[in-house]
């Protein structure tokens, strides 16, 4: 892949090879901290930052490391970027840092990051690698935010609550979807809710894919019919 196809990278990262919906990687943070939009967005951004940074660094040193020390080197790089992210969050979004707790250092064990370092960044030039990290991070973060939104609406009846944790004091975007007297639906808040919502999202993605597939197949039949008119020459 010397000539990186940015369109293809975008498509795989966001949809056809989405880390959360297709590769099913990084499910631990996906399920644990997707209780609300702000938590999901916080962890999504942190993961994306690490992903972009590690992809860039791995791509830069890809000719220097040998096969034998490849994985330790990648893990060191990822750990370094995770530590940077952790320190950044500690400095700028301290409350969110406390809420996400152990899941920020645990980004280092997120398989998406090591997976992309190994599968993409170690074989590609720097710019495509950075772009791949960005797209994979976006795909992961988007799923995280959607799950967070669904669980927040079902679980607490709010949307975008506590956004000041991420955007600074004075920002209040809280929407009370079902009014003020919504009794919290604890199953959605607890881990089973995350599993169910993630499962439904995967089902929705598969349904969309198969609909597209069916439409494409339907169009092909029309093409076939027009060929039958030809009586000479090659009929495909």
């Amino acid at each position: 892949m010397s000539n990186a196809d940015y369109k293809e990278i975008t498509r795989t990262g966001l949809w056809s090879n989405n880390p959360a919906l297709v590769q099913l990687l990084g499910l631990c943070p996906l399920l644990a901290v997707s209780g609300s939009v702000v938590n999901a967005l916080g962890l999504g951004l942190a993961t994306m930052l690490v992903l972009v940074g590690s992809n860039m660094a791995v791509s830069l040193i890809r000719h220097a490391v040998t096969e034998a020390i490849k994985l330790p080197a990648f893990v060191m790089i990822i750990a370094a970027f995770t530590t940077c992210t952790e320190l950044l969050m500690q400095a700028f979004t301290y409350e969110l840092y406390q809420i996400l707790g152990i899941f920020i250092p645990l980004i280092v064990t997120n398989c998406v990051i090591l997976g992309r370092a190994d599968a993409f960044a170690s074989k590609n030039r720097v710019l495509p690698s950075i772009y791949d990290g960005l797209m994979m991070g976006l795909g992961f973060g988007a799923v995280l935010v959607v799950i967070g939104a669904v669980r927040e609406v079902l679980g607490q009846g709010t949307l975008l609550a506590d956004m000041h944790l991420l955007l600074g004091d004075g920002v209040d975007l809280t929407l009370h979807v079902f009014g003020d007297n919504y009794p919290s639906f604890l199953v959605a808040v607890l881990p089973p809710g995350a599993f169910i919502v993630a499962g439904l999202l995967i089902a929705a993605k598969n349904a969309i894919d198969s609909t597209i597939e069916r439409k494409r197949a339907a169009q092909k039949i029309i093409v076939k019919g027009s060929k039958r008119v030809r009586t000479t020459g090659k009929v495909a």
Partner: protein, 355 residues
């Protein structure tokens, strides 16, 4: 005259799903009647709302799945799930509470796993546990039996409407609800069993296991015996559950001291014991399949019910015990494959080596 030769088996089985489900619905009637007698119209409103949700959701999901709607609605399985959940919920539950429970039962526990016959977990119990975990503030309010409550209130239509369709003020609620016998027994750890029976109204008004509750359980026991007589299920799972529960209760009765876990009669005839034993544990889909398997399955449910009731956080435990054992049912089946006629010894369900 043509000689018709049919191959074996020559017996034919009248047990259609429709017939079995109809029998189960019939067998709940005594229990429902006694529940209504003691706890008011709330039981009936529960059943009505749950059935409406059950049929509506079942039809909607069947339509989405592209299955014949009338055919599956006629097997009555959605109604059985609805009735069982409605009986398990506190009488006069809010309509939306029942709705959420039915969505969890019919849509999640039943159809997301493939529909009738494919559900690894008992749908009614999934609905119940989802509600119990999500809305403890509503699920732990059980109406008091008629003679302990504000006289006549639970048979009053306006009160019923307020309970089901609007939030009733909490002071009114306090007058209508009371702790269940199992809850009372759990909360009064310092008293001997004799004192509890003498001091607490719920026990002193009753005969042996709490006013009202004992009769509800006897009614469900009768319904269960009817089903047993009609050969809807075998005796193995329910009897194993009841015997184990009674055994545990006897061992830990401790002569009714302040450490007592409660008498065997209390455990057998209070809470959801009989409903669970004859209507939930016997679910043919989510339980073990062989007779030996059902003995183990039922016995472990009985043990779990006692363990969670006495040493756990919840006063009653049938739903949790059943769901836990639903997990284990395939595992039990694996080790209890019956000997096939003509074969020497029973084999495990699957084996890796070629024998």
């Amino acid at each position: 005259m043509a000689f018709l030769r049919a191959s074996s088996p020559h017996t034919h089985n009248p047990n259609t799903t429709h017939r079995v489900m109809r029998e189960v619905l019939l067998a709940t009637l005594p229990g429902v009647a006694v529940l209504t007698w003691f706890f008011g119209l709330g039981t009936l409103s529960n059943i009505l709302i749950a059935c409406l949700f059950g049929l509506g959701l079942e039809a909607a999901v069947l339509k989405m799945r592209g299955r014949p709607i009338a055919f599956y609605l006629k097997d009555l399985s959605a109604l059985v799930t609805a009735v069982l959940l409605a009986i398990a919920l506190p009488p006069a539950s809010s309509w939306w509470l029942i709705g959420v429970g039915m969505i969890a039962s019919i849509v999640v526990a039943k159809h997301l796993y493939g529909g009738l016959g494919y559900n690894p977990f008992n749908p009614a119990m999934v609905g119940y546990v989802v509600l119990l975990i999500s809305y403890p503030q509503y699920m732990t309010l059980w109406l008091a039996p008629e003679n302990l409550s504000v006289q006549g209130a639970i048979f009053d239509i306006t009160t019923l409407f307020e309970l089901v369709f609007g939030g009733l003020a909490s002071t009114t609620m306090d007058g209508l609800t009371a702790a269940t016998p199992l809850d009372v027994f759990k909360q009064t750890a310092g008293l001997t069993a004799q004192d509890i029976y003498a001091q607490k109204a719920i026990f002193s008004q009753g005969l042996f296991a709490g006013a009202g509750y004992e009769w509800v359980n006897i009614a469900f026991l009768l319904g269960g015996l009817y089903l047993l007589m009609r050969k809807v299920f075998t005796w193995h799972a329910p009897i194993a559950m009841l015997v184990t529960l009674a055994l545990f209760a006897t061992v830990f009765y401790d002569a009714g001291s302040s450490n007592s876990g409660g008498s065997p009669l209390l455990h057998l005839f209070s809470g959801a014991t009989m409903l669970g034993a004859f209507f939930i544990v016997t679910d043919p889909v989510s339980s073990a399949t062989s007779n030996r398997g059902r003995l183990i399955y039922g016995a472990l449910i009985g043990a779990l019910v006692y363990i969670i009731r006495v040493w756990g956080n919840y006063p009653d435990a049938v739903a949790f015990a059943v769901l836990l054992m639903n997990f284990a049912a395939p595992f039990i089946d694996y080790y209890t494959v019956p000997r096939t006629y003509g074969h020497k010894k029973a084999q495990r369900a699957t084996h890796t080596g070629g024998q």
